[in-house]
């Protein structure tokens, strides 16, 4: 008997006068103790499945047809009262953002008490139950934790508290919506391991919603790959991962740079998933417009799900699939060792940043924080250097130091032979012209009141580098160089897709033809298929312009794909540095080892043991 079964579930949204099926004919079965992975990029509708279960649909969305049965009971027909009884008790949720999942003005104890009271636990037992629950998620000193507030805990600890609360009622079903996306790799490995062990212990059925195919393949029994609201492939996780049949699933795999083996060129799908508006107009296969092998039939008729193996189904015509065997992708050109005569662009000597503590009221300074401990770094022309580390390791401070937004406490930063100086000086002019920064979040980095054409050539308005010339012409040049369609020049940022925004963000930095780009997590907010486009763009820029990049990222496989050299940072310290291949193949520092092991492997056959007793803890 299945725990949760969806049958031809269709969710539609009103868009003006038309209706769009946000989810189309979704069917799945989840047995007790099973883990079902729902994989898809943003906009695929994967979170909507969780929202249908919790009946927290946005205004204008409603289930048009199909059924959703939980333990033999029709969830869609259940009264609101009955539904509320089930939620939190038999059906538990883990949210994506652990920090916003907890109320910051209540202690952990208050929130546990509230939850346990709802479950009918008598007052006298609540404390014991809460401590037991916190201990079961391996939180140290659970009794002390009860009096803390969520903002005093790290993201990983908050997520553990939420998991403890979710499991306190011993639920039959757990819906985890991107539970690890906001966390570091090592913390992610811990959380995933924890969910897994609780799943085995309690035989809880789990729906694990994620954008990461590799991760899902590791921890799920079954996979459902979603594209534009449709299941395009489903089946046993091992089968789907080892032998993906749908061109989109293959593309997802091909767009993810591997952490081992030869470095092959990423194949990026063109454009991106149709949004709600576009979906209303799509005819035929919803993936058709981006499919490399679509034929005339795909554009006219909607393919149906068909079985291709033991429980393995795919929504693609047999004709299409025949020609779509995984072709070997071209290898990346071997990095020729840069001649040591290549000009040095950036040289950091003994640079550190130390934030002094606040003065207490009687004038004594509290202990300060070393954001970046002294280190050296040289970047030559045409070199991509990666910086990896978890959040808070000092990566972003390093970027701000190089850009002159922060003054180093010690050491010197030399750009093409000139010391980096304060804004406003002559040397600042030199800095502006030679180095630019690409910010992580284009949403925040692009002024919403400027049109794309003004954004791209924003540097023309600068008082520091007076530049005459035709702005429109330069904007068109930059757009074509970064693969932006020319018709978007007159649009505002909010009218662009996520990938287009990041391209505008990059193109703006290129306007004055800088020699060095500092890129701070520029692909971490993007979907894999869009990420691949951006990575290939950066490689092309190196070829065409011999540009250097200081590439800051938490994603090891992306750093391996792009960078020849890598710095590993841990709590403000550069703990390891060297050629990417050497560091990744033969890590020396315990932190690097843990970091590498925490990444789910690329190949289906490889085993994944993310957690071993290591000196590095994730509690910080």
């Amino acid at each position: 008997m299945s725990l949760l079964s969806a049958c031809d579930l269709t969710l539609s949204a009103r868009l003006g006068r038309t209706r769009v099926d946000v989810l189309n004919d979704i069917s799945f079965d989840l047995a007790p103790g099973e883990v079902l992975g729902i994989v898809g990029e943003s906009g695929a509708g994967k979170s909507m499945i969780g929202r249908v279960i919790s009946q927290m649909l946005p205004a204008g969305f409603n289930v048009r047809s199909g059924s959703l049965c939980f333990d033999g009971e029709d969830l869609l027909a259940a009264s609101p009262g009955r539904h509320r009884e089930l939620l939190g008790d038999r059906i538990a949720f883990i949210p994506q953002e652990p920090l916003s999942g907890l109320n910051p003005v209540l202690t952990i104890r208050d929130q546990f008490n509230e939850h346990l009271a709802r479950l009918g636990v008598p007052r006298a037992e609540r404390r014991q139950r809460a401590i037991a629950a916190l201990a079961s998620v391996q939180l140290p000193r659970p009794a002390d934790l009860l009096d803390r507030y969520s903002f005093q805990l790290s993201g990983g600890m908050c997520q553990r508290v939420l998991i403890a609360m979710a499991f306190a009622s011993n639920p039959a079903l757990l819906v985890a919506d991107e539970p690890t996306t906001a966390l570091d790799v090592i913390t992610q490995a811990h959380i995933v391991e924890l969910i897994h062990s609780l799943n085995r212990e309690h035989r809880t059925g789990i729906i694990f919603i994620t954008h990461d195919l590799r991760l899902a393949a590791r921890i799920c029994d079954k996979l459902l790959v979603l594209y534009a609201g449709e299941v395009i492939e489903s089946g046993p996780a091992s089968a789907v991962f080892a032998d993906p049949r749908h061109p989109y699933t293959r593309a997802l795999q091909a767009a993810n740079p591997p952490l081992t083996g030869p470095r092959r060129q990423l194949v990026a799908l063109p454009e991106q998933m149709p949004g709600l508006q576009a979906l209303a107009q799509v005819e035929g296969c919803r993936f058709g417009a981006r499919c490399p092998i679509a034929d005339a039939q795909c554009r006219s008729s909607q393919p149906t799900l068909r079985e291709v193996g033991q429980g393995h189904t795919v929504r693609c015509s047999p004709g299409c699939e025949a020609g779509a065997r995984r072709g070997d992708r071209p290898l990346l050109p071997q990095d020729v060792a840069l001649p040591s005569t290549a000009p040095i662009i950036l040289e950091l000597g003994g640079v550190s940043k130390y934030y002094p503590g606040n003065r207490t009221w009687y004038g004594r300074r509290r202990a300060g924080v070393a954001a970046v401990k002294p280190f050296d770094l040289t970047i030559r022309a045409g070199e991509f250097v990666g910086v990896v580390g978890e959040s808070g390791s000092g990566k972003s401070t390093l970027a701000r130091l190089v850009m002159g937004l922060e003054r180093p406490t010690t050491g010197s930063i030399v750009l093409e032979g000139k010391e980096v100086a304060v804004p406003g000086s002559v040397a600042w002019r030199h800095r502006v012209a030679t180095t630019q920064m690409v910010f992580q979040d284009p949403q925040s980095a692009l002024n919403p009141r400027r049109r794309v054409i003004d954004l791209l050539t924003q540097a023309f308005e600068s008082t520091v580098i007076p530049q005459q010339g035709d702005r429109a012409a330069r904007a068109r040049e930059l757009a074509s160089e970064t693969g932006l369609p020319a018709d978007i020049l007159s649009r505002y940022p909010h009218q662009l897709s996520g990938g287009q925004k990041q391209r505008v963000n990059i193109a703006r930095a290129l306007c004055m033809a800088p020699r060095l780009l500092v890129a701070d997590e520029i692909v971490s907010g993007l979907d894999v298929s869009v990420q691949a486009q951006i990575l290939n763009l950066l490689l092309r820029l190196r070829e065409e312009r011999n540009i250097s990049i200081l590439f800051i990222s938490h994603d090891l496989s992306v750093v391996r794909y792009l960078c020849r050299r890598v710095l590993v940072m841990y709590r403000g310290d550069v703990v390891e540095t060297g050629s990417t291949e050497d560091v990744f193949a033969n890590p020396q520092h315990a932190y690097t080892k843990a970091l590498l092991r925490a990444v789910p492997p690329d190949e289906a056959g490889q085993s994944w043991t993310p957690l071993q007793a290591e000196a590095v803890d994730d509690a910080a």
Partner: protein
């Protein structure tokens, strides 16, 4: 913009007020200050004993209520526009400086605003006016000196949050000066809030002006204003309620118009509210 009933109704009322003010000399049937001591405290024209020459009746000195009402719109709209404009100018300038540069500048400006705001606003205007003496521009000055704090506090928060967006350091790295960043990056994003605040400040200005003229410290005696009319009509409320009711109604409509317009504009400009509306329809 025309899809929002708040903006349409509010804008309509505001437009009506401004047109009345502009066209008062042509619209008014009588000289607003002409006394007709034979026809004192006449009821409106449609009531028994009314005179068609005085559509809304006359006050205790036989002055035409409608004409005074129409001329009163001039003072109301002049004060509303100039006071809110100058309050905006001072408030915005200080808010931008405080919110953009932060640190001790912000601390100083914020503390001044705190202290300033802890005076009861109308009493403060009254005291200021008693010090300055009567006159319409002094009324404006009194309202500006009270109203700028509201602008400053609300806008400072907005500028503070805009300043934390990455487009500010991005512009800095592209070589923009602070002045240019404020002008090209910060202000355009704060503009919608400024427009909204101006509209709300106008409503406040209309009320404060009415209160000041009611207490008799506002404009010169020969200028008709709604507050003066209410003060005059108060004594004869039993004989001629219209002398008090009509100016009160005028104030109500003007304030309602500015508030509706301001609230409508705020909703229109707020992307979060806008989004939820477009999804729901």
């Amino acid at each position: 913009m025309l899809g929002s009933p708040r903006v349409v109704v509010g804008g309509g009322l505001v437009l009506l007020l401004l047109l009345t003010a502009l066209l008062a000399p042509w619209l008014a049937p009588n000289d607003p200050n002409a006394q007709d001591l034979v026809n004192v405290l006449l009821p409106p024209a449609w009531a028994t004993g009314g005179d068609p020459a005085f559509p809304l009746g006359t006050d205790n000195l036989g002055r035409c209520i409608l004409s005074r009402l129409l001329y009163g719109a001039r003072v109301a709209s002049y004060v509303a526009i100039t006071a809110s404009f100058f309050a905006m100018l001072i408030g915005t300038a200080l808010a931008v400086v405080a919110g953009y540069f932060r640190g001790w500048v912000d601390w100083t400006i914020s503390r001044i605003v705190d202290v300033w705001m802890s005076f009861p606003p109308v009493i403060l205007s009254l005291v200021l006016l008693l010090a300055f003496g009567a006159g319409v521009n002094r009324v404006v000055l009194g309202i500006v000196l009270v109203g700028w704090t509201r602008f400053c506090r609300v806008l400072r928060a907005e500028v503070l949050s805009l300043g934390r967006r990455d487009f500010v350091p991005a512009a800095r790295l592209l070589g923009f000066s602070h002045l240019r960043i404020i002008g090209k990056e910060i202000l355009p994003n704060a503009l919608s809030l400024i427009v909204t605040l101006i509209s709300l400040e106008m409503a406040v200005a209309v009320i404060v002006e009415a209160i000041l003229s009611f207490t008799g410290v506002s404009v010169e005696a020969d200028i008709p204003t709604w507050g003066v009319m209410i003060a005059d009509g108060r004594t004869y409320i039993d004989e001629q309620p219209g002398a008090l009711a009509f100016p009160a109604l005028a104030i109500f409509l003007a304030v309602l118009g500015f508030n509706l317009l301001g609230d409508g504009l705020r909703r229109l400009f707020d992307p979060r509210l806008g989004l939820s509306r477009s999804q729901a329809t």
